[in-house]
Amino acid sequence: MIKSNCQYRFTATTEGLVVSVSGEIDHHSALSMRRDVDNIIWNRTPTHLILDMSEVNFMDSSGLGFIMGRYALMKEIGGSLSLRDPSPVVMKMLTMTGFDKKVRISNTAKL
């Protein structure tokens, strides 16, 4: 049974802690994702958090709030955050709100 329309998994890499998100990020799905991601940030205190957004097919301003919140938290613990391969819907939201100027965005060759 699929309980949520948003899935995410964690991978520790040499670049930092990668959270790969897929599906839909809205207010409902962001609530549980925020709790789980914050738990792992506090437990592992990574120096760099990478949100892989390549598989996100829907995101509204709740998703933006999620990114901004993690950006602030990483800053608070002395780390940093970047977005990897944001999908077109994510990029559209970042551009519209000007957040693309604030957060580091990396595009890898896999797209």
């Binding site: 329309n5 839909e24 809205d26 207010h27 409902h28 799905s29 962001a30 609530l31 925020r34 829907f58 995101m59 509204d60 301003s61 709740s62 933006l64 709030g65 999620f66 901004m68 919140g69 819907v89 559209k92 939201m93 519209m96 709100t97």
Partner: protein, 158 residues
């Protein structure tokens, strides 16, 4: 097209299809509302980008009901969508919640009354960006209705 009967205002294309949906303000119904709207609007053959914009604008309006209109209990959200023969989509999201005391303030970018909940304060900005027009009516203690209109490019529902 101008019409003398309508005081010189452009005559609106007739409504060719409409739907109403009442559902409780559980946050899990945000995706349900988007899916229902997407299925209904599919008859207009929107582009992927248009569909994405409309779903996003609707999601913002429904989330506002979940978070702000009914902050401490579950209430009913009424979604109504009308399609005009010229491919115009009119979506209205109505609640019977707490209402918005200052609509102009609420529509300002980055304004939020729920900073602790990590609201970005961009909900109305997103609705305005993804729709051609947005109308908000609200009465404190009575509820809010948000009506969004978006004309699909080169589409006709005939």
């Amino acid at each position: 097209m101008k019409d003398k009967k309508h005081g010189g205002r452009p005559r609106l294309a007739p409504i060719c299809n409409e739907m109403k949906l009442d559902f409780p303000s559980h946050s899990k119904n945000e995706s349900f509302a988007r899916a229902a709207a997407g299925a209904f609007i599919a008859s207009l053959d929107p582009t992927a980008s248009e569909l994405s914009d409309i779903k996003c604008a609707l999601s913002e309006a429904v989330t506002n009901c979940t978070v702000h209109a009914y902050p401490d209990h579950i209430g009913i959200i009424r979604l109504q969508i009308k399609l005009r023969t010229d491919g115009t989509v009119i979506m209205s999201v109505k609640d019977s919640g707490v209402g918005i005391p200052d609509i102009e303030k609420a529509r300002e970018p980055l304004f939020t009354t729920d900073a602790a909940g990590e609201r970005s304060g961009m909900g109305f900005t997103v609705m305005e960006s993804f729709c051609d027009s947005i109308k908000v009516t609200s009465k404190t203690g009575k509820g809010t209705t948000v009506t969004m209109t978006r004309k699909l490019a080169g589409k006709s529902a005939l």
